[in-house]
């Protein structure tokens, strides 16, 4: 299909969206991710019955946590897609990428960079 989607997205493959844990999502943000998309199968089509429904609940919980810790819950989103919906995947990627760009870089990444920066650089 040769569809274009933003190159700033890193794909992490998992066997089922039900494998995604709250801790995985929080760790991504701790490591400086600006946003995370969880793409699960269509509701009712989960090969493990309720994996995608569990993922949706966990994403919702992470949204609430992000709002409480000042990171904005809009940085994480769950979508339901089938393997044949490449066009929709590209569309979602563009949509979320634009939303994240609007929200700006993750405050975690900015704070870390600031903390890592030397207080004074000495010229050799």
């Amino acid at each position: 299909m040769r569809l274009q989607y933003p190159s700033n997205i890193e794909i992490i493959k998992i066997p089922c969206s039900g494998k995604v844990d709250i801790l995985h999502l929080l760790t991504a943000f701790e490591q400086g991710a600006d946003g995370v998309i969880v793409a699960g199968c269509m509701e009712g089509d989960c090969h493990y019955q309720v994996g995608n429904l569990r993922a949706r609940q966990r994403v919702q919980r992470v949204k609430e946590i992000l709002d409480k810790v000042g990171l904005n819950g809009g940085r994480v989103e769950m979508f339901n897609l089938s393997a044949g919906m490449g066009t929709r995947f590209a569309e979602i990627s563009r949509e979320i990428s634009a939303r994240i760009l609007e929200l700006g870089p993750s405050p975690i990444k900015t704070a870390r960079e600031k903390a890592d920066r030397p207080i004074m650089e000495v010229a050799e």
Partner: protein, 222 residues
């Protein structure tokens, strides 16, 4: 088992906001089963706290660990080499665990990370219901295995009261009338004659009315 619910994140943030190094300690016991204070919840809370203080550009180090139980000295001892390095501890154990941690480390500030609710059962994942109030003198043999102390809102020993309607309690229509349940159960067992012999007033000295309780089992002591 003991049932608890996690305290709101903002409440914990408020408790530790002026500190710099905090240890979050979970418990592998009851609070793990009700998903309030086990290994997973400890990880989620620690990560959330780190995100909060990092984005606020506040110097804060959050570490975590989970003990087999916090209501036993042997497991609390496992913290002895590292606890001094922290300004405070957030314990995700039940109220018993938090207090025993305080007793073991009297110089350390310990904050509770969960609200301990009751002793109960898992109706389904995420739905827990009270079944025992630890009154210290079990009467389940007389009541068809359904406890009027825990399941009747008035803790009546000879119920039901006039507030029982269609099997529900007047306190809340979602609460089953404990005495209705007992009646139905005794009917099934063919023991309805139990209602012909009123139960004498209960000695509440074995419950909280006797003050804080303690068990000494000489047969178990060395």
């Amino acid at each position: 088992m003991i049932k608890a619910v996690p305290k709101p994140l903002e409440e914990i943030i408020e408790l530790i906001k002026d500190l710099h190094k905090v240890l979050v300690v979970g418990c592998d016991g009851c609070v793990t089963v009700c998903e309030a204070g086990g290994l997973k919840e400890v990880g989620v809370l620690s990560s959330s706290l780190r995100l909060n203080f990092t984005q606020a550009n506040q110097r804060m180090e959050i570490d975590d660990t989970t003990l087999t139980r916090q209501c036993d000295k042997e497991y609390l001892d496992q913290l002895k080499d590292r606890i001094d390095a922290y300004d405070a501890v957030v314990s995700l154990a039940c109220g018993c665990g938090v207090q025993y941690l305080v007793e073991r480390y009297p110089d350390k500030v310990v904050y509770p990370g969960v609200d301990t609710c009751f002793m109960g059962v898992d109706l389904e994942r995420g739905v827990y219901a009270e079944r025992c109030q630890a009154c210290g003198k079990c009467i389940l043999a007389d009541t068809g295995g359904i406890c009027p102390i825990a399941r009747c809102s008035k803790r009546m020993l000879n119920g039901p009261c006039g507030g029982s309607e269609k099997g529900k309690c007047e306190v809340n229509s979602e609460i089953d009338c404990g005495w209705h349940l007992i009646y139905e159960r005794l009917k099934t067992l063919g023991q309805l004659d139990r209602f012909e012999h009123p139960v004498a007033p209960k000695d509440w000295a074995t419950s909280r009315d006797g003050g804080p309780r303690k068990i000494v089992r000489e047969d178990l002591r060395i």
